[in-house]
């Protein structure tokens, strides 16, 4: 696996080998729109197209095209604008749903936790009051905010998209500049349609080669995070390029972009192409037939010029990549299934301290392999891997087999639309016959804000995005993996490679 870094890597050519630490491109902190003659990368093009005002020494007034809202990070923003008597700037650029603290049992309308219930009811009434489209339970459209945006076709190339959620980077799969913001910034966008922003640095990540059987986009992004570390892309927006990226479906691209934040990136994106346009065509909020050609022309302009440069560059070779599973308490602490957890002596001093603490929490030992480690829980779902394609892969692994009697398996669709497809395609029957619990849509056990928690001390193999301490419930242990690896492990009762089940 080669990680190459160059000071100024060119867009069209392979980056040369260099030290793994990277230097900054001089003069990249400015904010002036580049002239048309200067080669620009896709991030710079989207940036330039959204600069409203730039005063010397000030951050840019930067236009946001779409803001997605959910119940956890919006209430205080509504309070702020209401306290100043400010109206919502443009409700047709806002879209809200409920996902984080909602139950995934059949009757979701009854939320037992009073605070969670208040949060959901508050968003419902705020949206009504401010005329913001709200995707409620049983609308057929409710789901995880980063699943429903693309499904409706509101996520489009060249746009700027924010949400009070770090996994907003998911929408970058469509060639949009999409990033997470805090609640204060949610209020700023509500009030003005704009944010104050500084131009980000850019990073080019090339995925070379092809996936082997049983290896997926999730494994590729976990590999990148493992290579560059949880802070490896701090301050940067990543463009993912390469033949493997071009061959990916939109679902796979979303998985890759989704986890950009786990290596610290501000956002991650992929230039739009035929795959993107095909996905969007015919969706309820995609451009109508009379505007379609003009939209494609406009969207196609968002591609990195051949001679454009990036501040950092990394190449990941997929040809030999195997299924990846995390062993620690951050997503960078991961290994291939045949590889041992690193020897502590080989780690830098402060990384070693992090590793020692992580291994103590996950009850594992340095130098051991993960394959065969017993798991009690298996979770398929989340904005990372809760889409229809993910659930098809899981069904393919589970078909005709049984989840181990020692394992409780949750399969949580990313949205009501995904759930409907699972029923239509017969996937639900497969999940249930295998003994998995197919539940209602939401974030669920990814962050355990609702009742879906891994019990203390129990070990879960999970298709989600974070294995932080206590993430899936107090004292729970998380191993991040692809949906296929989760399904294979659920059957085996221990961490297992999906290859033999495919």
């Amino acid at each position: 696996m080669s990680v190459a870094a160059t000071k100024k890597s060119k867009s069209g050519s392979a980056p040369g080998r260099a030290a793994s630490n990277v230097q900054a491109k001089p003069g990249s902190a400015g904010c002036q729109p580049a002239s048309a003659k200067i080669a620009r990368n896709i991030v710079e093009k989207i940036w330039d197209a959204h600069v409203v005002k730039q005063l010397e020494g000030h951050p840019c007034v930067f236009a946001i095209d779409l803001m997605l809202l959910h119940e956890v990070t919006s209430a205080q923003a509504f309070q702020l604008i209401e306290s100043r008597n400010i109206h919502v700037f443009d409700p047709s650029r806002l879209l809200a749903t409920i996902d984080h603290s909602t139950p995934t049992r059949q009757n979701r309308w009854e939320i037992y936790d009073e605070a969670a219930r208040t949060q959901v009811e508050t968003l419902r009434s705020n949206c009504k009051k401010h005329n913001i489209p709200f995707l409620d339970f049983d609308s057929g459209k409710q789901g995880i905010v980063h699943v429903v945006g693309p499904e409706l076709g509101v996520t489009q190339p060249g746009m700027t998209i924010v949400c009070g959620d770090s996994h907003t980077s998911t929408h970058g799969a469509f060639g949009a500049l999409a990033f997470g913001v805090g609640t204060s910034e949610v209020a700023h966008v509500m009030a003005t349609g704009c944010l104050l922003q500084k131009k980000p640095q850019t990073m080019r990540v090339e995925f070379k080669g092809h996936f082997r059987k049983g290896v997926y986009a999730k494994d590729a992004i976990l590999k990148l995070i493992g290579e560059i570390g949880v802070g490896g892309a701090n301050g940067h927006v990543i463009e993912y390029v390469g033949e493997a990226v071009r061959a990916m479906s939109m679902e796979e691209r979303m998985t890759v972009c989704n986890m950009s934040i786990e290596c610290g990136a501000r956002a991650g994106l992929i230039a739009p192409d035929e795959t993107t346009f095909k996905y969007l065509k015919g969706r309820s909020h995609a451009p109508s037939a009379d505007k379609w050609d003009a939209a494609i022309d406009y969207w196609s302009s968002f591609a990195s010029d051949e001679k454009s440069t990036f501040d950092k560059s990394v190449t990941i070779d997929l040809d030999k990549l195997e299924p990846i599973v995390t062993w620690g308490t951050n997503p960078a602490q991961n290994v291939g299934l045949s590889e041992p957890i690193p020897k502590l002596e080989t780690l830098e001093a402060n990384e070693r301290a992090v590793a020692v603490r992580a291994l103590e929490y996950t009850k594992l030992k340095a130098e051991q392999t993960l394959e065969g480690t017993p798991v009690e829980w298996a979770f398929v779902g989340s904005c990372t891997n809760g889409r229809i394609e993910d659930l098809r892969i899981v069904a393919n692994v589970l078909k005709g087999k049984k989840v181990s009697e020692n394992v409780t398996m949750y399969v949580v669709p990313g949205s009501e639309a995904v759930m409907k497809k699972c029923h239509e395609e017969g996937l639900v029957d497969i999940f249930r016959a295998a003994g998995a619990d197919f539940r209602m849509p939401g974030c669920s056990m990814c962050l355990a804000m609702n009742d879906d928690q891994v019990p203390p001390g129990k070990r879960c193999i999970s298709s989600s995005n974070r294995n932080f301490v206590g993430r899936q419930g107090p004292d729970s242990i998380t191993h991040l993996a692809s949906p296929a690896t989760v399904a294979a492990s659920a059957i085996a009762g221990c961490i297992a490679s999906p290859a033999e089940f495919l």
């Binding site: 005002k53 020494g57 951050p59 007034v61 236009a63 779409l66 990070t73 209430a75 205080q76 309070q79 100043r84 400010i86 047709s92 650029r93 984080h100 603290s101 605070a115 208040t118 409706l152 509101v154 489009q156 009070g164 959620d165 770090s166 990033f179 997470g180 913001v181 805090g182 609640t183 204060s184 910034e185 009030a191 003005t192 349609g193 704009c194 944010l195 104050l196 500084k198 949880v230 802070g231 701090n234 934040i261 610290g264 501000r266 909020h285 939209a295 406009y298 951050n330 402060n350 990384e351 301290a353 992090v354 603490r357 355990a448 804000m449 932080f468 301490v469 206590g470 993430r471 107090p474």
Partner: protein, 199 residues
Amino acid sequence: MQKVTIVKSKAMPLPIKDVDTDLIIPAQFLTSISKDGYGANLFRRMRDNDANFPMNRKDFDGATILVTDSNFGCGSSREHAVWALTGAGFKVVIAKSFSDIFYNNSAKNALLLVVLPAAVVDQMLQSATSADYEVTVDLETQTVTLPDGSTHKFEYDQFRKHCMLNALDDIEYIRSHAADIQEFRERQEQNRYMSTRGA
């Protein structure tokens, strides 16, 4: 937002790299619709599992400066992480580096984040364990003064500094450009293919 000027306090050490937002405040505590009350659960897990965790020590009572390692605040965009720190009385966090979203969120809540060189931070993390390690942070002069009398300059964005010193927030600044915003949106209309209406 409160004005930020000079903060003088004993420093509380948290010698851990990559402290994530779930460690700062777990998701289970995010169900409130207010900005208040999160301080009680700041670093909840570490407080529950380690009797010697500085926040459990009486001699660190009243500390308003936190010193930690690198990449502090990584993970979620939850501003609740900042509200938990300010709710527990913290006014300054000193580290080798911070994650992006956490950094932005802090500036909007009068929580001053200071980046100092690794060697200085390491020295502070070692010395601060005794709880009588008093540090002065001055945003105006962009300096941190340690008990040994040494003074260390830190970088800070001048626009943000102006906002912090004068308790200004972004909304009014952006709204002062209303005419530019309107003109931009009119110009942008020809390439607009998205509306959430009817969703």
